[in-house]
């Protein structure tokens, strides 16, 4: 034990001074008078995977990269390296400058920003940065040991990151922020393969993730989901757990690009021209916000270009308030560019999941979705399947496990068919179990959700 501890070190990443020194050194290699931008990113990443109640693989690595964006008049080239010695940095600058000289003039060229003021980043946790391989193995054991004792099969993944991002340019702009991220997800199955349950959490602060509780929840779902029965596909009233809501609602956030909307190739395009800003598109109880300084969904205080991030209200009381404008499109349209940082928080209500179930005569409870892929961008229509805990609700009670179902539906339609909303919580909504973007959403009860076929997969 002590040997393992002694090898542990707190996460390695570049300090503000180190990052600034590297950025300056890189900018010093720039030969063109037209300036350049340098992004310096460094992070330690650690992960532990487990399968069949034991650790299967793990990994620890540290990497730092420098990305040089060079200009030649209105021409741009970019190059990234992870070799931060002088030779490596010089080579990256030369490559970027060479590419810039070869590029055609960019009609949408935007000059580098002047120095900016930034808020203090909040997405840092010492608990996350200090988690070492043994700490990860202990967290895993809090899931595998009880699963093993109760004759279940646990599988899962713990992923932590601690690092720093910096951006600098020739005008003197410099920004630096540290961030951490952690995600723990587990799938617990019955040994006969007839039941499967999932639980997961994602937060920048490892101390907010309770491994034993996640393991217990997944185990309970695995037991309850045994021997599922087939039901007819069709339209159902559905109680969506928060993870399932996060799985779908994030696609609305991905579709918020103003330019695509103005160009007529988005759900947010308006028939006849223009976009849907000012149009009511979902239930008035729905508000969608990105706020990098909200401690619940904290993100980076700046963008890769060095823009300060700030709160963006996308949809307020069901009405589209703004869309995502990059600097060029904002200038063209005479509005301020957005720089939201990418997190997402949805408004909620006061109905508990238990109350949603109790008020449902016949419906389904969905734990989460899998293999979500776009089918039609015109309506943000997606297909995908339920997974790891799908249950039938009859006369206000969960009566049995049902087989998984494929749906073809849109989160926009879903948010128009709202019956009830619960308290928003942080979810792990990424497909691959990595930390993904910070998402906080409520459980929802929705009518007429469109399931199109049945799956035998458990």
């Amino acid at each position: 034990m002590s040997e393992i501890r002694s090898l542990a070190q707190t996460a390695r990443y570049l300090s503000r001074d180190e990052a600034e020194a590297i950025a300056k050194r890189t900018l010093g290699f720039v030969t063109s008078a037209d300036g350049a931008r340098v992004n310096v990113n460094s992070a330690s990443r650690g992960n532990t995977r487990f399968a069949v109640n034991q650790v299967s693989t793990g990994g620890d690595n540290y990497d730092s990269t420098v990305t040089v964006t060079a200009y030649a008049g209105r021409r741009t080239g970019s190059s990234t390296t992870n070799q931060l010695d002088d030779a490596g940095l010089r080579q990256a600058v030369e490559t970027a400058e060479r590419l810039a000289k070869l590029a055609p003039e960019d009609p949408e060229f935007m000059p580098e920003l002047a120095p900016q003021q930034y808020g203090e980043g909040r997405a840092w946790s010492e608990a996350t940065a200090a988690l070492d391989p043994q700490g990860r193995a202990e967290a895993v054991r809090a899931i595998t040991a009880p699963a093993s004792q109760s004759g279940l099969v646990s599988t899962g993944y713990l992923d932590t990151r601690a690092g720093a991002n910096a951006v600098a340019n020739a005008t003197g702009l410099f920004a630096y922020a540290r961030t951490t991220a952690a995600a723990l997800t587990t799938t617990v199955r019955t040994p006969d393969g007839s039941g499967s349950g999932w639980a997961g959490a994602s937060h920048y602060d490892w101390s907010r993730i309770d491994a034993a509780a996640l393991g217990a929840r997944a185990a309970e779902k695995a037991r309850a989901s045994r021997a599922p029965v087939a039901i007819e596909p069709g339209r159902y009233t559905v109680v969506f757990e928060p993870t399932a809501v996060g799985n779908l609602v994030q696609f609305i956030a991905n579709a918020l690009n103003a330019r695509s909307a103005d160009e007529g190739r988005s759900f947010f395009s308006k028939q006849g021209g223009g976009n849907k800003i000012g149009t009511k598109v979902v239930d008035e109880r729905v508000t969608l916000v990105s706020d990098p300084f909200d401690p619940d969904v904290a993100g980076s205080p700046f963008t890769n270009e060095g823009q300060p991030t700030r709160r963006s209200v996308w949809i307020e009381n069901g009405v589209v308030k703004t869309l995502n404008y990059d600097r060029y499109w904002a200038q063209k349209k005479g509005v301020s560019p957005t720089a939201s940082g990418g997190s997402l928080k949805m408004s909620g209500g006061t109905t508990s999941i238990e109350e949603m179930i109790a008020s449902t005569a016949r419906g389904l409870l969905v734990t989460r979705f899998w293999y979500l892929r776009p089918v039609d961008q015109r309506t943000i229509l997606y297909t995908g399947l339920t997974r790891d805990g799908t249950f039938l609700i009859e006369s206000g009670k969960i009566t049995r496990a049902v087989k998984n179902l494929r749906f073809n539906d849109s989160p926009v339609f879903m948010l128009n068919n709202l019956e009830a909303l619960g308290t928003p919580v942080r979810v792990s909504a990424s497909e691959d179990g990595g930390p993904g973007q910070a998402i906080m959403v409520p459980p929802l009860k929705v009518r007429d959700f469109n399931f199109t076929s049945l799956s035998d997969a458990v």
């Binding site: 390296t81 070869l102 997969a457």
Partner: protein, 541 residues
Amino acid sequence: MGSSRREFVKTTSTAAAMLAGLAAVPSSARAALLQQGATLDLSDPDLKPLAQLGLDAARSAGASYADIRFNRNRTQALFTREQRVQGLVDNETLGFGIRALVNGAWGFAASRDITRDEIARVARQAAAQARANSLTLVRPVVLAPATAVKDGVWRTPIEIDPFSVSVEDKVGLLLAANAAALKQGARFVNSNMFFLREEKTFASTDGSYIVQTIYRAQPSVTVTAVAPDQSDFQTRQSNEIAPMGRGYEHVRDAKLVENAPRWASEAVQKLSAKPVDVGRYDLVLHPSHLWLTIHESVAHPTELDRALGYEANYAGTSFVAPPAAVLGKLKYGSALMNIRGDRTQPGSLSAVGWDDEGVKPESFDIIKNGLFVDYQTTREQAPFLADYYRAAGRPVRSHGCSYSQSWADVQFQRMPNVSLLPGDKEQGWDDLIAATDRGIAIVGDGSFSIDQQRYNAQFGGQLFYEIRGGKIVGMLKDVAYQMRTPEFWGSLDMLGGRKSYLLGGAFNDAKGQPMQANAVSHGCVPSRFRNVNVINTGRKA
């Protein structure tokens, strides 16, 4: 290169010794001592003693087996839209990773700093992590034997190194293709090129030392047509131009400028295509579409780690399980269905000399005349099938399916090329359409989704044509088919012949946690499937 490399090893060993344990030393100071990092040649024989140092350090730290992989990935990406270049990006990442087996458990650690002391430290870190991981050990890892490869060298046989072609030429070609599409009625057009060179030097405590250079290339075009009143938009992706394990000759052969007007016309035509009537249809699937259906419904479920539950938390498990119940017994599809795994097809994305465990891949049958006969395996997986192989009089050995995307990631089982073999009769796309009374012909892959055990899938496409009485009578839109894997493959009743065989493929197949991207090709021929369930995906916003 040789002499500077030798100098590098000498100076850095002293320098690194000075730095040992001094995590607080600024990078600038560290970096000043590592001048050769960016130009390090991974085929330089002087790398060998460094590799040995890592293996020895892992052994000293208790590893019963270890391997080390030095890896440099260089990529170049070009993005354009209409007459504008959106991005020209060169990336390079260099480092090494060490995998150590201690008490039957794996550990893996990696670093970008290629110095003697860092290699020794990372080796100890991997071994210590393996020891920590062994705390939960239930079944120790056992490796199937592998032949030691002394000084193996392999290189993708390319004609033109994509990194030697000027950026002006590449940009010129993309903008010319865009102009051709715009002239033909496209409202928007995006076109890209992506190139990768993967240099890997692998060494293991089994005595292998292998140097490989792998190239991949993908040009692509997406055309968007918009109805004048913004009531509809349709896209056409050039995805019959597959990503390939080739050089710039792949871009040349793709004839983007010549093809762009057709892609634009097809996007425009989709605006006025007839919405499909839901129902059951015979499907005639083009190889540019079918490769993805093979990928999802055949290649993934026959990965042994999935079948054993190792990927249950993300990619999922498999309906092709448990192995003892299905090997040689499961009827996967009709007798026309023959599926083979390989890493040798010229131009394929998975082609290599040796896998990331130093195993020479073999071509192997996965499905023979409709019957499931084998899984994709690595060295730690093959022993799980020992009884089956012994009963068949076959050796217990890996099929060579180990892969890692970079120095920072641990290698694990990834699919090789998994391909549908041609039929005996020499016939093609037109022959299959002529033989079909009521059906839909589908070109190009589109939307795709499949459950975590690979039973229930839904696929879209790029172009859909209605077949009536052996003839194409018009274009359809909003088409997707839903299938249950064994029934779908059971309905296969016509196959194209050898001359109609094409490779499709994916550059970024996702699997594992942390997720890693694998590049893989799937060869196939035009094929017909009977009585498949088709839905209409169009809705009003």
